[in-house]
Amino acid sequence: MTKQENHLDQLTEIREMMARSSKFISLSGFSGIWVGSVALAGMAVIFYYFPDYFYMRYMHNSIAYPDYMLCGSELLAFLRFVVVDASLVLFFAVAGAIIFTYNKSRKQGKSLWDDTAKRFMVSLMVPLAAGGLFVLISFYHGLYVIAGPLTLIFYGLALFNAGRYSLIEIRYLGLLEIALGLLAAIFVGYTAIFWGIGFGILHIVYGVVMYLKYDR
């Protein structure tokens, strides 16, 4: 090895060490695919039990025509169903993501809960928790229509923020989620579709891209 190559080697190693020690890189592509699939399954369950909601009423893009919206006890039952369904989806999605990520970090010889993971989680959870509480408050005020778009927007902000401590693709994913949330806020009647794209399809696409780019 010449001296030249030696110096170049050193620089490469330094750069690698800087990235590895400051960024949370163990998020596996599989976790994206898993999270997206669970989300789509959750949507399918809602669609199965409340098909009307998707087609007849909710899809009609308007909150100005109350007769197209669910109301009273029917609305309450539906909202309850959605909240339970979404909580289950969240639980299985997070559990799966943790397992896949644990496997990957073990392969990389890193422990799952190191400084980079902590930083990533804190910067993710702050906007996410604020968003979650805000959605609950919007429920409290009876603003159900805006709750769906809000979840997408806050999730996007959380990803964009946490992406600083991880791979750049997380930030792009965050921007897309924010854009979808804003669109859903305009076309509130189609929130279900935007949810399906944002939480389902985007995660799967992200997962496949990450798998092909980093995991293979």
């Binding site: 001296k3 030249q4 050193q10 620089l11 190693e13 060490m17 400051s22 010889g109 190191d114 400084d115």
Partner: protein, 99 residues
């Protein structure tokens, strides 16, 4: 040429020391366990390199307790950051010359 070479500090010659400094450039502080994991070296080896860097005032050591467990964190001093920055620049210049 001599001038540049003198900037390639002897202190940073080892791979482990380079690793420690690069990690501390981008992280505010790091503890022994995490450092060991990143660098994949033995306890004794890492400790001796840390001692050497501390002796040159390039890093600072902070001992604290988390619960009952002792936890030692390492921080790059301003001198350390500057010295490592110059080392990097010198490396880059050397490579630039050859190409």
């Amino acid at each position: 040429m001599d001038n540049i070479i003198s900037n390639i500090s002897k202190t940073f010659e080892s791979r482990v020391r380079l690793g420690i400094m690069s990690i501390l450039m981008v992280n505010e502080s790091i503890d022994f366990k995490n450092l060991k994991e990143h660098l994949q070296v033995t306890d004794g080896n890492l400790a001796s390199h840390l001692k050497a860097l501390e002796k040159e005032n390039l890093i600072e050591v902070k001992k604290q307790f988390i619960g009952r467990k002792p936890n030692t964190r390492y921080i790059a001093t301003d001198i350390g950051k500057q010295a490592f920055g110059e080392h990097l620049k010198a490396l880059e210049r050397l490579i630039g010359r050859g190409i």
